[in-house]
């Protein structure tokens, strides 16, 4: 395996209510790998993303881009982890898109010229070039989702982690996002129920259930295994189900 960008060893987290959310999650993601994280509702997928970003006090070993996650390194970890939340209204909090995309690079301490370059570059990458002055509430859902992606792209993270990126998107906006993600060279971790997206974008799939990794393998094989998927509350992706 190539250089590892993400290492998870026996990651555990229990909600304050006592419910076990993560029950010993272990897997690695190599540089440039595109991994789809799938599983039924409540499997712990989104919780795992929050744990990786250091928002939840999880036990176990988490290492992102060479930084072992501790309370004091959470900031370094987040700098290399581009986390995009499910609801772009949470992600886009500045009055103008340009300022929002600039936020990350500014907190990295970059100079104004560099920040400007990165903003233009990131907006260009998601097909929103020239949208600097638009306010988020004037964007369509698809544009918001791509804008949210731009806000982390501008930080040039080593790994992009997306939570349900196609939720609420119409087919055209979804297709557009899919093509965008396929074209990215960076390491990708996509969480979601959109198995077709994962099949098209990711080479590898990790199936989680009840806070554990239930299966891990090439996306084409794992997502074509009807018995495996159905035993974990999932279904074959529509594109494969049609063929069967």
């Amino acid at each position: 395996m190539a250089e590892r960008v993400l290492e998870l060893r026996d990651v555990r987290y229990r909600y304050p209510t006592g419910a076990e959310a993560l029950d010993g999650v272990t897997f690695d993601v190599g540089a440039g790998e595109k991994v789809g994280l799938v599983g039924p509702n409540g499997a712990g997928k989104s919780t795992l993303l929050l744990a990786i970003a250091g928002f939840l006090p999880a036990e176990g070993h988490i290492r992102v881009a060479g930084h072992t996650l501790t309370a004091s390194t959470a900031r370094d970890v987040r700098r290399h982890l581009g986390l995009v939340f499910q609801d772009p209204d949470d992600q886009l909090f500045m009055p103008r898109l340009g300022e929002d995309v600039a936020f990350g690079p500014q907190t990295m301490g970059l100079g104004p010229a560099e920040v400007e370059t990165r903003v233009a570059e990131a907006l260009e990458a998601v097909g929103l070039a020239g949208y600097e002055d638009r306010s988020p509430h004037h964007l369509s859902q698809g544009e918001k989702q791509r804008a949210a992606l731009a806000t982390v792209l501008a930080m040039r993270p080593q790994i992009l982690a997306l939570d349900e990126p196609t939720a609420g998107l119409d087919p055209r906006a979804r297709r557009r996002l899919m093509d965008l993600l396929r074209g990215f060279a960076s390491t990708l971790l996509v969480v979601g129920h959109d198995l077709d997206l994962i099949l098209r974008v990711c080479g590898r799939a990790v199936l989680m259930d009840s806070g554990r990794v239930a299966a891990d393998g090439p996306a084409e094989q794992l997502l074509a295994d009807r018995v495996l998927l159905e035993s974990h509350g999932l279904e074959l992706p529509p594109s494969l189900a049609d063929r069967a």
Partner: protein, 261 residues
């Protein structure tokens, strides 16, 4: 969902829109200050302000109906005070009515006072309205930042503006979901309680959203310090505009002085 936006017409491209936001914000403040400082109870010093605002609105293509509607919406705040004045202010009685044991007087001084205050109110409201109608909200924020308004206030306003719509959307969705199942019958207590619950749910969701927003910010390196808003440089035309506004404000004060000696 769509809401009446504060800066509904701010996206247009007219000479008024092209002036730097900071210049416009400062000009609006100067005009409001001069208007407020006019002593009672003349109306003449307001004339140049009204004329200038009319020209500005025409150049900025702010629709008249939009202006009147917005002014009407905010007018109750002023009306509550202004409508009582003609009856309360002592002076020469111009009209009176007998209401059984009471007699109500309307005085000339009271009328003049009411007209003066009303004019003041509408001019200040119109100034703010035209600023917002020709400047995107982020431009106003930029203007405030430029005027060295403390960053926390500017940022607070930015968040308010950003999430007010999201909150309204959320509230509207909840309300619709409730109405969709409200057959309009049954004990009023049940129906009243559902309304109270709606407010509670909205509060909880706001709380959750605040946490998610914080996470999204922290994920991008937020450490409690907020970046300064970008401020564009002022150009010659902005300086001219500002100078004109300052001259107008001075003229108003001068006129006020002449009338009172």
């Amino acid at each position: 969902m769509h809401h009446a936006m504060l800066d509904h017409f701010a996206g247009r491209d007219t000479p008024a829109h092209r002036i730097a936001p900071a210049a416009k914000t400062l000009a609006a403040l100067a005009l409001i200050l001069a208007t407020v400082l006019v002593r009672r109870d003349h109306l003449l010093p307001f004339a140049p302000v009204a004329a200038a605002l009319a020209v500005y609105a025409a150049v900025g293509r702010v629709p008249v109906s939009y202006t009147l509607k917005r002014l009407l919406i905010v007018s109750p705040f002023a009306a509550a005070i202004v409508l009582l004045l003609p009856f309360l202010e002592p002076g020469h009685v111009v009209w009176q009515a007998d209401l059984g044991p009471w007699t109500v007087h309307v005085t000339d001084a009271g009328l003049a006072r009411a007209a003066h205050l009303m004019a003041k109110f509408f001019l200040c409201a119109a100034t703010t309205l035209f600023l917002l109608a020709t400047t995107p909200f982020h431009g106003v924020l930029e203007g405030l930042a430029r005027l060295r308004v403390p960053r926390v206030f500017v940022v607070q306003l930015a968040f308010l503006y950003r999430y007010l719509w999201v909150l309204l959307d959320e509230g509207m969705r909840l309300r619709r979901a409730r109405l969709a199942r409200d057959a309009g019958q049954g004990p009023w207590r049940v129906r009243f309680r559902s309304r109270a619950a709606l407010v509670g749910v909205l509060f909880l969701r706001t709380f959750d959203r605040a946490e998610r927003i914080y996470w999204a910010m922290a994920a991008r390196g937020f450490d409690g310090r907020l970046p300064a808003p970008a401020v564009r440089k002022m150009q010659a035309k902005d300086a001219v505009f500002l100078a004109a506004a300052a001259a107008l404000a001075l003229a108003v004060l001068l006129l006020d002085r002449l009338l009172y000696g």
